[in-house]
């Protein structure tokens, strides 16, 4: 996997808005004074009249988005994940979620990989927060191709969607002719029989690397990419539990309330097998370069491989 192209999914978001903004005239993009960081500035440059800067006022932005959506607009409301899902949680819940309005929350700078800004801006709670809102779709794309596909799918879906993007350039892994994105449908990236690594977002490439590490030790790991945390693909998870008997989850999020929790819920109900979770272990982040911080919290291929062996050892 040497020399693969790396693109931050926030850039993919900005590019997709420009691409689909030309097709769908009803798309409006809202931002809260972070358009150069969230990359909605790209859309603003192309469609200045359809880009609404709401200033540093995320709560108002979410309710304004709801009002716009109530008149038939397709609204993207953008900020950092911390402020979109965190600060404005109640507006997202009551103004957008309860009336099931057609607002797409474009949350960038999610997870730890914001890096240097530190704990106040790193958000490892957003998936958990959004998961609790009835009817909310949550998509955490792994790379540029998936991020663009997610934006397109969100536009075609009528209802609220939380889109989670990152700041760190990540490897493009989905550049295959048969790549197909469908909301709620996980993707088996590699077959395997001994254990399944279920990953999301930037942990997907790490999961693929972990497969190579495990292969060197004679372990054949299945790799599943779950881009949609909600509604989650119960079928692919239950199948993995049944056929490989052990699961590791990997996410750039608190292991509480994120992918790991969602997978455990499915496994416990459909086919109980050991699940070991890799992610942020109920902690706040720290300042540092993105890669240093990810390594510090164990969000690496090596740690996934280690936890995979633990999961296998827990098999009955």
């Amino acid at each position: 996997m040497a020399d693969v192209k790396k693109i931050a999914t926030r850039d993919s978001y900005g590019d997709a808005l420009v691409e689909f903004g030309a097709v769908y005239q009803d798309i409006l993009v809202l931002d809260a004074d972070l358009s150069t960081a969230t990359k909605t500035a790209k859309f603003k440059k192309k469609f200045p009249d359809r880009h609404i800067n709401c200033g540093i006022a995320e709560c108002n932005m979410m309710s304004v988005a709801a009002g716009l959506a109530s008149t038939g607009k397709i609204v993207f409301a953008s900020s950092f994940a911390m402020f979109a899902a965190g600060r404005a949680f109640e507006q997202v819940r009551n103004s957008i979620g309860y009336p099931h309005l057609n607002v797409k929350i474009g949350a960038t700078h999610a997870g730890l990989s914001v890096g240097e800004d530190g704990a106040t801006h790193q958000c490892c709670e957003d998936i958990g927060l959004m998961c609790t809102i009835p009817g909310m779709v949550i998509i955490n794309p792994a790379d540029d191709i998936e991020a663009r596909a997610a934006v397109e799918a969100a536009i075609k879906y009528n209802g609220p969607v939380y889109l989670r993007f990152g700041r760190l350039p990540v490897s493009v892994i989905n550049d295959k002719p048969d790549y197909h994105f469908e909301i709620g449908r996980g993707i088996e990236l590699a077959s395997g029989k001994d254990v399944t690594i279920i990953a999301t977002g930037l942990m997907v490439p790490e999961a693929l690397k972990a497969k190579e590490i495990l292969a060197a030790e004679g372990i054949n790991a299945r790799i599943v990419n779950i881009h949609t945390i909600k509604p989650i693909d119960r079928e692919i998870i239950a199948k993995a539990a049944k056929e490989t008997g052990a699961i590791v989850t990997a996410e750039e999020h608190n292991i509480i309330g994120g992918l790991g929790s969602a997978v455990c819920e499915v496994v416990a109900e459909e086919c109980p097998v050991p699940v070991v979770r890799v992610g942020v272990e109920d902690a706040f982040g720290k300042s540092g370069t993105a890669t240093a911080v990810l390594e510090y919290y164990g969000l690496t291929a090596e740690n996934i491989a280690k936890k995979a062996k633990k999961a296998i050892s827990l098999k009955k």
Binding site: G55, C59, N60, S63, V64, A66, G67, E90
Partner: protein, 281 residues
């Protein structure tokens, strides 16, 4: 205002009060005080001002109304039912499981409700979005919203106030029901939002102060709002919480308490007397 129209609107306002109390009495919960204080302005908006069609509640060109102080849903539901959006019989099933009239307005379930509200401060922001959409799409509909004075304590209101001025939403008309009371007591004692007109003025709004129970002043204010270009208008209406029912007037304890049998009978009698008096005028 034409005397006949005024008389009709006055009667409608009394009927809104009667049904709002019926709702709260039937549910044995709800918010009578603030519902009674906005009955006059609702009568004016729904029966004189707004360009709406109860037979076509989702009509694209309709004027929009957002009850930012969503807890006063009993008054809104009464206005909607009287206007013909749904049968008046629904009122007695307010807050009752299996029926459509939720404790706070639900746009998905109730014809005529343009935005779900209830969590204070959010309705005015949504109204800004609706008004902005008209600007962007070159539509001529207007957007109306009613806030409580206690609601002004929510920071989001002032985020929205900045937004409306920034985007020159002259098609938005907000109305602050300044009855001076909130659940815990006088607004000045709890967390004073005063002076209300000055604050909005400094935020770049056109401000009109009126008596919220005077239909002529209400009409004058909404008419003037339409002539102002480049800025949003707020009507700051001095009103009486519990208006129309003597023992509920100016009492914070009637913010969120349902009347018992005896109190309900007494209130209805007062309102029926008011209707009878209008008839002989």
């Amino acid at each position: 205002m034409d005397a006949t129209v005024k008389k009709e609107l006055s009667a409608t306002a009394v009927n809104i009060r009667k049904h709002a109390l019926e709702a709260v009495y039937s549910a044995k919960s709800g918010h009578p005080g603030g519902s009674l204080s906005i009955a006059d302005v609702l009568a004016y908006l729904y029966f004189k001002e707004m360009n709406i069609d109860p037979k076509n509640p989702k009509w694209d060109e309709r004027d929009r109304f957002v009850l930012s102080k969503g807890h006063c849903a009993p008054a809104l539901y009464s206005a909607l039912a009287l206007k013909g959006y749904f049968p008046i019989d629904e009122i007695k099933h307010f807050r009752s499981l299996g029926h459509m009239l939720q404790g706070h307005p639900d746009m998905k379930g109730v014809p005529g409700v343009d935005m779900s509200t209830g969590s204070l401060g959010q309705g005015i922001s949504a109204a800004c979005g609706i008004a902005l959409s008209a600007k962007l799409s070159d539509k001529s509909y207007r957007t109306y919203t009613i806030l409580g004075d206690g609601e002004l304590e929510e920071g989001q209101v002032w985020e929205a106030a900045m937004f409306a001025a920034q985007y020159k939403l002259d098609n938005l008309c907000a109305y602050v029901d300044n009855n001076g009371l909130q659940i815990d007591g006088n607004i000045e004692d709890v967390m004073s939002p005063l002076p209300i007109p000055g604050k909005f003025k400094e935020f770049g709004w056109n401000v009109i102060e009126i008596n919220g129970h005077d239909l002529d002043e209400i009409e004058m204010a909404y008419s003037q709002a339409k002539t102002v270009k480049g800025k949003p208008t707020v009507i700051v209406a001095h009103s009486v919480k519990g208006k129309g029912v003597s023992f509920m007037e100016n009492k914070a304890e009637w913010h969120g308490t349902a009347p018992n049998d005896e109190q309900y009978a007494l209130a209805l009698k007062e309102l029926d007397d008011a209707l009878a008096k209008l008839e002989v005028e």
